[in-house]
């Protein structure tokens, strides 16, 4: 094992993702309480890595957002939560950071520029951190419309651009968060993740702090589809590669008890785009399981039967070769798994 391969040992990697244009190009966010943020890039499918720019400077005077107690708090860069490579350009990649902002690089990570219209469109001073920090954790690019993207922030909500990232609007109508003074306010919702099927980019699925939600109009309005889930708290949500109405969640007991209900690790699948859910348990521990599954720790591949993968805070990665019907651990003894991504190679 060469030195470059050893470079990630014992370091926190928040997210890794490959470019759909060139699968040899992979971006990784390495972060550490001691040494701060490093962005790594590979051009050979992960065999070797090189550090690229870790300079994320907010545009202009960053101002303040709300702190946990509602007081103003200055915007400060802390880490990169999510890296989303462009669907069309190898050297273009988006970064979602804490404190929440969206950055873009067009030179493979050598430099980063903020898409400041998101943070400065007006509601920014009312955003507040979730328990994990005020992070921009989801970036969805519309494959049919290069000007449209969706992002989500804990705890601000979901936002959409229709002009390539210059201007943004909150898209949170229909969300209800009872921890907020106004439960249906335009911003302040703790959205945990959003997912989209590439064939229907106007249909969005959301796992919120509580509630699983769905939008059929590009986020203009949302309705709850938690249905018969044992609990509608959780972090990841994902869509089957070939069935746009088949979605997966991992219910977690509550916001203060981050483990599966009854210690039974179950993925829930809906084949009807929500509301009607079935428990998937074959191969998963059904007693004494007290792990969590984090928001970016689920992914699907594009093979015919759609592989589904998720990682736990207990260091296991479970894989299903058959769209969730059965599961087996493919890794058991990692540290807490922060994110899972899949590349389907020819």
């Amino acid at each position: 094992m060469g030195r470059e391969r050893a470079a990630f040992r014992r370091l926190e990697i928040y997210h890794v993702k490959g470019s759909p244009v060139d699968p040899e190009r992979i971006y990784a966010s390495q972060t550490s309480g001691w040494f701060g943020q490093v962005v790594q890039r590979s051009s050979d499918g992960g065999t070797t890595w090189e550090p690229v720019s870790n300079t994320f400077e907010y545009e202009g005077v960053p101002g303040t957002h709300q702190w946990y107690d509602g007081t103003p708090h200055p915007w400060e860069f802390k880490r990169v939560w999510h890296l989303e490579p462009s669907l069309t350009e190898r050297d273009s990649v988006y970064a979602g950071i804490e404190d929440a902002a969206l950055f873009r690089s067009t030179d493979g990570g050598q430099s980063w520029q903020e898409l400041a219209g998101l943070r400065s469109h007006g509601s920014g001073p009312h955003w507040q951190p979730g328990a994990g920090g005020m992070c921009l954790h989801t970036i969805l690019i519309d494959p049919t419309n290069a000007a449209r993207m969706y992002i989500a922030i804990s705890a601000a909500g979901a936002f959409r651009t229709d002009d390539g990232g210059t201007t943004w609007k909150p898209i949170n109508r229909g969300l209800r968060s009872d921890f907020m003074p106004d439960p249906t306010a335009e911003v302040g919702h703790c959205v945990h993740r959003i997912a989209m099927h590439p064939s229907r980019p106007q249909v969005l699925f959301m796992q919120k702090h509580w509630d699983v939600m769905r939008s059929d109009d590009a986020g203009e309005s949302w309705r709850e589809v938690s249905g018969n889930l044992p609990t509608d708290f959780g972090f990841p949500i994902d869509v089957h590669a070939h069935e746009p109405e088949t979605i997966f969640v991992v219910p977690i007991k509550s916001d203060s008890e981050h483990f599966p209900p009854d210690g039974s690790l179950r993925v829930f699948r809906s084949r009807t785009g929500g509301n009607e859910w079935e428990a998937l348990t074959k191969g998963l521990p059904q007693k004494d399981c007290y792990v969590n599954v984090l928001r970016d720790a689920m992914a699907v591949d594009s093979l015919d039967r759609c592989g589904v993968y998720f990682g736990t805070t207990g260091g296991q990665v479970y894989a299903s070769k058959d769209g969730g019907d059965s599961w087996a651990p493919i890794v058991r003894d990692l540290p807490a798994v922060l994110s899972v991504e899949v590349q389907t190679l020819q």
Partner: protein, 98 residues
């Protein structure tokens, strides 16, 4: 030459083994040593001190000649053992956790 000892993770990131030797012009201070270090190893920018404010990261400490210099002013001159290269300027990851 100024000698700088880095913690293991930063040696890995900078792809160096053992101590780093740096030529530092002008007065020898924490600020000038770190500037020379970051100029030679750009990947270390932001890992020891904040890129915007220049402040030492909270879990990083600086030692020289057995003394904790973490709270010295960044422009304060360092002892002659450092400026002469007899002793290394040490960047240390603080002990934290269990």
């Amino acid at each position: 030459m100024i000698r700088v000892a880095l913690p293991a993770h930063l040696r890995t990131l900078a792809r160096v083994d053992g101590e780093v030797e740096l030529e530092v012009r002008g007065s020898i201070t924490q600020a000038t040593i770190l500037a020379a270090l970051e100029a030679r190893f750009p990947m270390l920018r932001g890992t020891i001190r904040d890129q915007q404010s220049g402040r030492r990261r909270p879990f990083i400490r600086f030692f020289a000649c057995g003394q904790d210099r973490s709270h010295d002013a960044p422009d304060e001159p360092l002892p002659h053992q450092i400026t002469s290269g007899t002793e290394p300027f040490m960047v240390v990851g603080a002990i934290a956790g269990g």
